[in-house]
C-alpha cells in the first residue's frame, strides 16, 4: 500500500462553484452547483457518493483545477489549484468515467509516451520509461493495440496506466466502475487498493465506497455527511429512500 509515502493533503476553504444561468440577459444570474465546502482531506483512501447531479464530479474537478472555485480556495499540498494549476496537475492525476475520452493517442503505448514527453526528452529514454510503466500495470501486452479494440476493462486499466505514468501523489477517479462488468470492477478495486498514491474516488458502487477510510456524501451541492464509510452508505441510502 506504499504506507511510507505521505498522503496528499487537500484543503477546501469555502469553495463554491457557480454557473451562469443561460436564460439570464448578460448571464449575470448564477446558480450555485457546489458549496460552500470546507474540507481537509488527508486520508489515503476517500470515497465520494451521491446521486447523479449532486455535485460529486464538480467536487472532484476542483481537486486538480479542472474547475476553478467561484469563491474560496482549494489547495493540494499547499499549492493553490488556480494560481499554481500546472504544479497541482503534476501532483494530481484525474481518471474519467469513460477511458476512451481519456486516451487521446491511437494506442496505449503512444499515450503513455505522451504522458512522459515533458519528463523524458530523449526518445529512447521515453520508450524505456513507457515500457516500465506498461509492465508495472500489467498492460504491456495491450500496448500496441488500437484503443478502440480494447475491452472496457482493458481501456480503464490502460487509462490508469496513462495517468499514473508520471507518479502523481493523488489519484482522483470519477465513477471509474460505471462502464465495467463485475470482474473488471473487482480487478480495478484490487489495483486501486495496491496503489501507493492517495486516492479520492466518486462512485455509485457502494462496495467500492466501503473500501475507503473515509466517505463523503454529496447531495444538492452540499457535503451532507463526512465520516466512516458504513455510516455514510446508510446516510446515502436514507437520502435515496426519502426522495
Amino acid at each position: 500500500m506504499g504506507e511510507d509515502t505521505p498522503a496528499a493533503s487537500v484543503r477546501l476553504a469555502g469553495a463554491t462553484v457557480e454557473v451562469p444561468l443561460d436564460d439570464s440577459p448578460g448571464r449575470d444570474r448564477t446558480r450555485t452547483i457546489l458549496g460552500p465546502v470546507d474540507l481537509s482531506l488527508d486520508q489515503r483512501r476517500i470515497s465520494v457518493i451521491g446521486a447523479n447531479g449532486s455535485g460529486k464530479s464538480t467536487l472532484l474537478r476542483l481537486l486538480n483545477g479542472l474547475v476553478a472555485p467561484t469563491s474560496g480556495t482549494v489547495t493540494v499540498d499547499g499549492l493553490d489549484t488556480v494560481r499554481q494549476g500546472a504544479r497541482v496537475r503534476r501532483r494530481v492525476a484525474f481518471a474519467f468515467t469513460d477511458p476512451l475520452s481519456q486516451l487521446v493517442m491511437p494506442t496505449g503505448r503512444e499515450d503513455v509516451e505522451l504522458s512522459l514527453r515533458r519528463r523524458h526528452r530523449s526518445r529512447g529514454e521515453r520508450r524505456r520509461a513507457a515500457q516500465e510503466v506498461l509492465e508495472r500495470f500489467g498492460v504491456d501486452h495491450l500496448a500496441d493495440q488500437s484503443v478502440y479494440d480494447l475491452s472496457g476493462g482493458e481501456r480503464q486499466l490502460m487509462a490508469l496506466a496513462v495517468v499514473l505514468a508520471t507518479d502523481p501523489a493523488l489519484l482522483v477517479l470519477d465513477e471509474p466502475t460505471t462502464l465495467l462488468d463485475r470482474r473488471n470492477t473487482r480487478l480495478l478495486r484490487e489495483l486501486l487498493h495496491s496503489l501507493p498514491q492517495s486516492v479520492v474516488v466518486a462512485t455509485h458502487d457502494l462496495d467500492l465506497a466501503l473500501t475507503a477510510e473515509r466517505t463523503l456524501v454529496v447531495d444538492a451541492g452540499r457535503v451532507v455527511f463526512d465520516g466512516a464509510p458504513v455510516e455514510a452508505v446508510a446516510c446515502y441510502t436514507a437520502l435515496v429512500d426519502e426522495s
Partner: protein, 215 residues
C-alpha cells in the same frame, strides 16, 4: 464507438516505408496532395492511385484497413463527384475525387507506418524555430489529437447513420448530420478536458489551467 482504418493506429513492421525518414514520407504525402494541381488529365492521378496501392502492399498493410478507410470516405466522394460533374464536367470531377482519395490514402499510409510519437517528435522539431510564439509541444500535441480524432469522427458518423437507419431516417440528412455534430462537439470537449486534466496543455512551471476568467 467503432472506428477502423489506416488512421486508427500504427501498424508495426519493418518494411522500407516503416524505416523511411519521416521527412521523406511527409514530402511524399505533400507531393501526392499536389498532383491534382499538377496533372492535366486523369491518367497521372490514376497512376498515383496504382502507386499507392503498391506501397500498401510493400508495407504489408492489411488491405481491409485500406478498404475500411475508403468506405468511410465514399459517401463524401460520391456527393463531391456528383456536384463537380454537374457544375464542371465528368473529367474534372474524377480528377478532384481521385486527388482527394489519393491524398487520404497517402496520409493513411504515413500514419500507419509511423508511430504517432515519431510524428509528434517531428512536429515539435519543426515548430522549434517558432518557440517564442508557440510551445512546440502544444503544436505536436495538436497534431496527435488530429490524428486520433479522424477515425473517431468517421466512427461517430457511421454509428449515427446506423441509428438513423434503425429508426427509418437514414434518408434524412438532418438525422445524421445534427447528431454527428453534437457527438463531435462533445468529443472535442471531453478531449480538451482530458488534456487539461493531464496537464498536457499547461505552459512551463507556473500558471496555466484555470484562469481568472474562469472565476
Amino acid at each position: 464507438m467503432t472506428a477502423h482504418g489506416l488512421f486508427t493506429a500504427h501498424v508495426p513492421g519493418t518494411s522500407l516505408l516503416h524505416r523511411m525518414a519521416l521527412w521523406a514520407k511527409l514530402a511524399g504525402v505533400l507531393l501526392v496532395g499536389a498532383t491534382p494541381w499538377l496533372a492535366r488529365s486523369v491518367w497521372p492521378l490514376a497512376f498515383v492511385s496504382v502507386g499507392l496501392a503498391a506501397l500498401v502492399a510493400l508495407a504489408r498493410l492489411p488491405v481491409r484497413l485500406l478498404a475500411r478507410s475508403l468506405r468511410g470516405l465514399l459517401p463524401l466522394l460520391l456527393v463531391l463527384l456528383a456536384f463537380q460533374w454537374w457544375s464542371t464536367g465528368l473529367a474534372y470531377a474524377v480528377r478532384v475525387v481521385l486527388g482527394i482519395a489519393n491524398a487520404f490514402v497517402a496520409a493513411g499510409i504515413l500514419t500507419a507506418t509511423t508511430p504517432v510519437t515519431d510524428l509528434l517528435d517531428g512536429a515539435a522539431r519543426a515548430a522549434r524555430p517558432l518557440r517564442r510564439l508557440v510551445d512546440p509541444e502544444v503544436v505536436a500535441l495538436t497534431l496527435g489529437v488530429v490524428v486520433r480524432s479522424v477515425p473517431w469522427v468517421a466512427g461517430s458518423f457511421s454509428d449515427v447513420r446506423e441509428s438513423a437507419r434503425a429508426r427509418g431516417l437514414d434518408r434524412n440528412p438532418r438525422a445524421v448530420v445534427v447528431p454527428t455534430v453534437v457527438h463531435v462537439v462533445a468529443f472535442a470537449r471531453s478531449t480538451g478536458e482530458a488534456l487539461a486534466a493531464r496537464g498536457l496543455v499547461d505552459p512551463g512551471d507556473e500558471g496555466g489551467g484555470a484562469t481568472d476568467a474562469d472565476r
